[in-house]
């Protein structure tokens, strides 16, 4: 447990903090993109007066940035929805965007780096073509291998971006890749989803409450962008607490739905991570019901160690943790690809692709 995990579990710890603790906390919260979340947390617990001005300036600055990006995301959604409405293609908002559309608690503080959308499998080619017609282009550079990876193995088309705007658009047709071991019947998701209409007449679907949590869990434990990890764990906690208070029998229904959709293991991992690292408190009945999805004891112990390195690093960017991140990266691919396909993919990535850094001189203006 690092200081950020402690704050999430018990915000009042900050009343005993001095400069030393705040100095350790700031880089952790900044790196996990949870500065804005922490400001809301302190306010909700009546602790705002215990936050030093210097720290609060950072929390506040981060929230300002988040609200701006949220506005950009909503605008991009309206553009996409208008384009797809031409041919009556139904659209579902996922993850951060879904929380915004449905006005769920994370919308008060959650940052987004792109928008995630889902259309029906039968509509995805038409949706992509329409978006191209309306001006969206491939975001970043993709070689033929990347194209093949997205189209044939994953559950999405290569990321798109409109040249006039900065938001990346990811269009999916399911919550998990078609080649992975977890197969989700997307029709069941559509059947349970609710439709929202905003003040501009934009119509968009959002997953029903249990499915929102299950998607969070699937994404978290199949995702290779592990840097965003703890933020998603916090989303799980915030959504769980919200629905648990708002809907009678929610926890039971969540377990039943996980069984029905075949993603109990992901739910187990996500709930466990939220309990250990984000201060989620659940009823004993829920924990017992969940234990049926647990892996073998050695596998659970290994996973606990790996997740601790990612969700509770002592300092951001620690070398010791890099190995655990690498292991989780391979694991995330392992569960979504058959072994031979995985070996080919990782070999390709290791030899042919390089990560890009921010070029010096690109001051945002």
């Amino acid at each position: 447990m690092n200081l950020l995990n402690e704050v999430l579990a018990r915000p009042s710890v900050i009343t005993h903090w001095g400069a030393r603790e705040w100095n350790a906390f700031l880089p952790l919260a900044r790196n996990a993109r949870l500065l804005g979340r922490c400001r809301a947390l302190f306010a909700a617990h009546d602790l705002a007066d215990g936050v030093p001005q210097r720290v609060d300036d950072h929390l506040r600055g981060a929230l300002t940035q988040t609200h701006y990006v949220q506005g950009q995301a909503r605008r991009e959604l309206r553009h996409v929805a208008r384009c797809l409405a031409r041919e009556g293609i139904q659209l579902m908002a996922l993850k951060g965007l879904a929380y915004l559309v449905a006005g769920l608690p994370p919308s008060g503080w959650r940052n987004l780096s792109d928008i995630d959308l889902m259309v029906r499998r039968a509509d995805i080619e038409r949706a992509e073509q329409l978006l191209h017609t309306c001006g969206w282009v491939a975001s970043g550079e993709h070689d033929t291998y990347d194209e093949h990876y997205y189209r044939d193995w994953m559950h999405e088309v290569p990321p798109l971006r409109h040249p006039a705007r900065a938001v990346e658009v990811d269009v999916h047709h399911n919550l998990s890749p078609p080649v992975s071991r977890t197969q989700i019947d997307a029709d069941k998701l559509w059947d349970a989803a609710s439709e929202y209409t905003d003040e501009f007449g934009t119509r968009v679907f959002v997953l029903e409450s249990a499915d929102l949590l299950l998607h969070n869990a699937i994404h978290l434990f199949m995702n290779d962008e592990l840097r965003g990890g703890l933020r998603d764990v916090v989303d799980f906690r915030d959504l769980y607490e919200h629905f648990d208070a708002a809907e009678a029998g929610f926890a039971e229904r969540l377990v039943a739905r996980a069984t029905e959709l075949g993603c109990g293991r992901a739910l187990y991992y996500a709930a466990r991570a939220a309990q250990r690292f984000a201060g989620l408190r659940t009823a004993t009945e829920f924990d017992q019901a969940l234990s049926r999805f647990a892996p073998s004891a050695p596998a659970a112990a290994l996973m606990d160690r790996l997740t601790a390195a990612v969700f509770a690093p002592r300092r951001p960017g620690m070398k010791r943790d890099a190995l655990a991140v690498q292991a989780l990266f391979i694991r995330s691919h392992w569960i979504r690809m058959p072994p031979l396909m995985l070996i080919r993919h990782l070999a390709h990535k290791a030899f042919l692709s390089r990560r890009q850094r921010v070029a010096e001189g690109d001051l945002p203006g």
């Binding site: 100095n23 880089p27 506040r60 300002t64 960017g317 921010v358 010096e360 001051l363 945002p364």
Partner: protein, 296 residues
């Protein structure tokens, strides 16, 4: 070699800077000796480390890399440029996170508590002009950022070394033979760079806010006589909004803050070449001489 650290107070920000490189730390001490934090248990905004790149290349062409929160967002640079890399990296940290302020991309100086804003794109001469004004007694707020508090409309100082580029270096050396200049960095990504240390008086008042009174858009034009022309508020607002680091991000708050700013400050275009002449002209403006009434 052991890593050493210094804690610097620079306007509203406090920075820990860590490095193994003695030369680099000596340079930091030269520039910030009036701003070294003396608090025994300080809370800091940014914890920055300049790391020397490991590997075979370190013997042939040693390199340095900027690290914040354990993350290295930029490509490594030649070791001899460690100091400009630090200054530039700190600017990046501030520009990408200090959204508690509206950040004008401008040089800012003050006469007492009355601030003069010099807004301009790189190459307009705003750093050179800020440097020259400070060398003749104005208080340096900052040569690169105007940190505007949206609620109060006041500017916070951040008196840091001014990076003079290329021919500005000679211009300032000729303007004031005793200007406290640091080492020359002949080959940086922005050309030849040499920093001017801010005056002790500017650093001593590093927490004292100032009210914007004059908004100028300077333009260096070789051979031109200093010329100050009143500018209408709408044009001034538009130009200033386009030259902020986070105007769009602050949205309505930014718009209202800049409306207030152009309402309370006189707005001008300023063409100059000779620094003595330019400084005399701006001193005149600050002292209310001549007929430089703001445009209505």
């Amino acid at each position: 070699m052991t890593e050493q650290s210094l804690i610097l107070d620079t306007g509203p920000f406090r920075v820990t800077v860590r490095s193994f490189d003695r030369t680099f730390l000596d340079t930091v001490r030269f520039f910030y000796h009036d701003g070294i934090c003396t608090d025994p248990d300080p809370l800091v905004d940014f914890d920055i480390r300049l790391v020397r790149r490991q590997g075979a290349r370190r013997w042939v062409r040693p390199q340095v890399q900027f690290e914040i929160d354990g993350v290295r967002p930029f490509e490594p640079q030649p070791l001899e440029n460690a100091y400009p890399v630090y200054e530039w990296g700190l600017n990046w940290c501030i520009a990408t996170s200090a959204h508690r302020y509206l950040m004008l991309h401008a040089g800012t100086v003050a006469f007492g508590d009355d601030a003069m804003i010099l807004s301009g794109l790189p190459g307009s001469g705003k750093s050179t002009l800020s440097a020259a004004l400070q060398l003749r007694g104005a208080r340096l707020l900052c040569d690169e950022f105007g940190l505007l508090v949206p609620e109060s409309g006041r500017l916070l100082p951040m008196p840091r070394p001014i990076p003079l580029k290329n021919t500005s270096i000679e211009a300032i050396a000729a303007f004031d033979g005793s200007a406290p200049l640091g080492p020359t960095y002949p080959k940086t990504r922005k050309g030849r760079v040499r920093h001017l240390r801010p005056s002790a008086a500017s650093v001593a008042l590093g927490e004292r806010a100032a009210t914007p009174r004059w908004l100028l858009f300077p333009r260096y034009r070789a051979g031109q006589t200093a010329d100050l022309q009143a500018l209408d508020r709408d044009t001034a607002l538009h130009r200033l909004a386009l030259n902020c680091f986070n105007y769009k991000l602050l949205g309505g708050d930014a718009f209202r803050a800049l409306c207030d700013l152009v309402d309370q400050a006189g707005c001008y275009e300023f063409v100059f070449s000779d620094l003595n002449q330019a400084v005399a002209c701006l001193h005149g403006l600050a002292q209310g001489e001549g007929s430089h009434e703001p445009a209505e």
